[in-house]
């Protein structure tokens, strides 16, 4: 596949690894923000190809992992108690809520559907005029245009039975929050390429300056990641702290103005809780007041008490890169991908799952 396979050739990877090895002189801790990057590092076995000096820290960029417990409970409540058709991306439905996951709610009889796109949910609402359809609109900036578009489509169609349960988080405030934490010892950051595709790179100049770290907007293929890491390490070795764009074939500096317009129409910035991290000011999007009819939260006046997180789970520390998953007392014991105690173990993009799957490979 064009624009994929070229970035996966062993030759290119080999060259980058060689250059990296040449470049690195001492240990560096680099956080890849995005779960998609984590997934690619793991899936391609890149982690054990990297020079020993480079330690990748898996960041909080997995929407599945940071969606608050309370919102999952709300989704379960809507599906179970309100009898709605609850539509969701596949990854979300296995995440444990305080009582059960959407998958378990489904098993117990709730109408939960796995979709590829929120636009499919609008079609389902059209086809089921006598049912309420709620899309569990999780995601980062990347997913926001699609979720927003679904609301605009539903409004255009005059649908009265479509709403979204929005759980949108914004990456820059999260990076800021993570980097501000005194315990954090991250020295470089791979910014999430697809987030920047929408939002552009402007906000990252500030971050890079404020925290005095190199930030490289990076893609997802092996060569992308290696190039991003190399660009970061080069800066680190040279003592620089600039913003660079590795993923320029997709990310324009100004982002995608059309997408931002659509987001603007539907969402407004709000404080937002990140699972495992806590509330970060101005780090999320909520449905605008004037579109309240499409906001499941308001439409169903869902009011679910906050449940406590699993006491043993140190997801917050893991997501900030302060602790490694294997430092968690439950890692691989009570907490496994088939029975996750915390969100980072659920998604194949989660930091704990990444370590779980990677664990035990002997480096040849």
């Amino acid at each position: 596949m064009k624009y994929i396979s070229e970035y996966r050739t062993p030759e290119l990877v080999e060259k980058y690894l060689h250059e990296l090895q040449k470049t690195v002189t001492r240990p560096w801790a680099i956080m890849e923000i995005c779960g998609g990057q984590t997934h690619s590092l793991v899936k391609n076995g890149l982690l054990n190809l990297l020079p020993k000096e480079i330690q990748m820290i898996h960041g909080p960029g997995c929407p599945v992992c940071v969606t608050p417990l309370n919102l999952i409970d709300k989704a379960v409540y809507l599906a179970e108690e309100k009898g709605v058709i609850l539509c969701s991306f596949g990854d979300m439905i296995r995440v444990p809520g305080s009582k059960r996951s959407l998958l378990e709610a489904k098993a117990a009889g709730a109408d939960v559907r796995i979709l590829y796109s929120p636009l499919e949910a609008v079609k389902i609402a059209q086809q089921n005029p006598d049912r309420e359809v709620v899309f569990f609109a999780v995601g980062f900036e990347t997913t926001a245009p699609a979720n927003a578009l679904s609301v605009l489509h539903a409004r255009r169609l005059g649908l009265k039975n479509y709403s979204i349960l929005a759980s949108h988080v914004l990456v820059p405030p999260a990076i800021d929050a993570v980097m501000t934490d005194d315990d954090v010892r991250i020295q470089g950051v791979l910014a999430a390429g697809h987030v920047c595709t929408i939002m552009g790179i402007d906000e990252y100049y500030e971050l890079s300056e404020k925290h005095e770290i190199p930030i490289v907007v990076t893609g997802f293929e092996p060569a992308d990641l290696l190039q991003g890491i190399l660009m970061t390490v080069r800066q680190l070795e040279e003592g620089k702290a600039n913003l660079e764009n590795q993923y320029s074939r997709v990310v324009k500096p100004e982002g995608n103005p059309e997408a931002r317009k659509v987001i603007e129409q539907v969402f407004e910035v709000a404080d937002r809780e990140w699972r495992g991290i806590g509330t970060i000011p101005n780090s999320g999007w909520e449905v605008r007041e004037e579109l309240a009819a499409f906001d499941a939260n308001r439409k169903f006046s869902v009011n679910i008490a906050k449940a406590p997180e699993c006491a043993d789970c140190i997801a917050g520390l893991v997501l900030k890169g302060i602790k490694k998953p294997y430092e968690c007392s439950q890692f691989g014991k009570k907490c496994t991908p088939e029975n996750p105690l915390g969100a980072p173990m659920v998604s194949s993009e989660g930091a704990c799952a990444a370590y779980y799957h990677f664990a035990g490979v002997e480096v040849s």
């Binding site: 596949m1 076995g45 054990n48 599945v64 990854d91 088939e338 998604s347 799957h357 990677f358 664990a359």
Partner: protein, 345 residues
């Protein structure tokens, strides 16, 4: 094989509860052409079972088929149910002989659909050289089933040269995949509500018994283990083998055959082909020195055209399957957790 079996004229066009009640309607349904279509001298038409002579080492296997949709690109649940059990018997090193056929029909299934399934069943039994000798038909209320579920169980005679056993798997053995993986699962996903996409990909469902018999004829006890990686895919079956044999398995991603279209669909949906279901593929673990010959022999069969050695059994990292990625990285390949859900965000 082209079957020309027009549906008989019937005075009902839909299957209802009464057709499963055991009474006139059940008899009528079966007499509508079902028995006629599937007939052979052993088929127990109204008795409680079939009686036949058979001797020696026998293999016995069962599977229920619950696929949705029941008609999918490249096949339907009927031929799947025949091929599936034929293949499970073949994986035991057996030559499949007699099958049972049991339907659980959700009321409302049309006779047209049922007939199409039956004709596929007939054709599949002919291809595999097996006979359906006993059967059962139940009808459940609407909303208590999913159009049709099929169970087939089968009895076969173990190939005289076969020595298929986990005990025979040893370090150094080569792992052969008989063909492209993930084709069936992706074909099914292409027609699932909410995920559907356009593609020419069709299920790879096929009976493997002929090819298996051929390698057993040629290589006998050098074939150490056979498994068909259906649900859970290649990753899960290899993990089971690693776990149960207490040995390690190395896999070489570069050698694993996947159709381009299938790879594309997996990218789009965020799926790993190693976990996607197959129907017409088997894994053979064979003595190292015959591996290439086995591959060569298999490639004579159109449905094994991309057979390849994709890994080996090792004493290292016992119970673990380790993949060397195309770019040379290594990772552990675990068993599938739960269902494989499309990964999107």
């Amino acid at each position: 094989m082209l079957l020309n079996c027009p549906m008989p004229q019937l005075d009902f066009d839909m299957i209802t509860l009464g057709h499963g009640s055991g009474g006139i309607l059940t008899n009528k349904l079966l007499a509508s052409g079902v028995f006629e279509l599937l007939k052979n001298p052993l088929l127990d038409t109204h008795h409680d079972g079939a009686v036949f002579e058979l001797s020696g080492r026998l293999a016995f296997s069962t599977d229920s088929y619950v696929i949705s949709p029941i008609f999918f690109p490249g096949g339907n649940i009927g031929e799947l149910a025949i091929n599936g059990t034929v293949n499970d018997l073949a994986m035991c090193g057996a030559m499949p002989r007699y099958l049972s056929l049991s339907f659980i029909i959700e009321e409302g299934l049309t006779m047209t659909e049922f007939w199409e399934i039956l004709v596929s069943i007939k054709a599949a039994t002919q291809r595999a050289g097996v006979q359906i000798v006993t059967g059962d038909t139940k009808v459940v209320e609407k909303g208590k089933g999913d159009k049709i579920f099929i169970n087939t169980s089968g009895v076969g005679q173990v190939h005289p040269q076969a020595q298929i056993s986990l005990q025979h798997v040893k370090p150094g053995d080569k792992i052969i995949l008989s063909n492209n993986i993930a084709t069936h699962g992706v074909a099914i996903m292409s027609v699932r509500e909410g995920l559907d996409f356009e593609t020419d990909i069709v299920s790879d469902t096929v009976n493997l018994n002929e090819a298996v018999k051929h390698i057993l004829d040629e290589f006998g006890a050098h074939i150490h283990l056979l498994r068909d990686p259906t649900r859970g895919g290649v990753a899960t079956v290899l993990n089971e083998i690693a776990r149960d044999s207490h040995l390690g398995i190395n896999l070489w991603q570069r050698n694993i055959p996947v159709l381009d279209d299938v790879a594309g669909a997996c990218e789009l949906l965020g799926l790993d082909p190693l976990y996607v279901a197959n129907e017409g593929v088997f894994i053979a673990i064979v003595a190292a020195d015959v591996a290439d010959d086995v591959v060569e022999l298999l490639r004579q069969y159109s449905f094994c055209g991309r057979a390849a050695v994709v890994g080996e059994v090792v004493a290292q990292h016992p119970r673990q399957v380790v993949l060397t990625s195309s770019i040379g990285g290594k990772r552990v390949v675990n068993m599938l957790v739960g269902e494989q859900l499309p990964r999107i965000c």
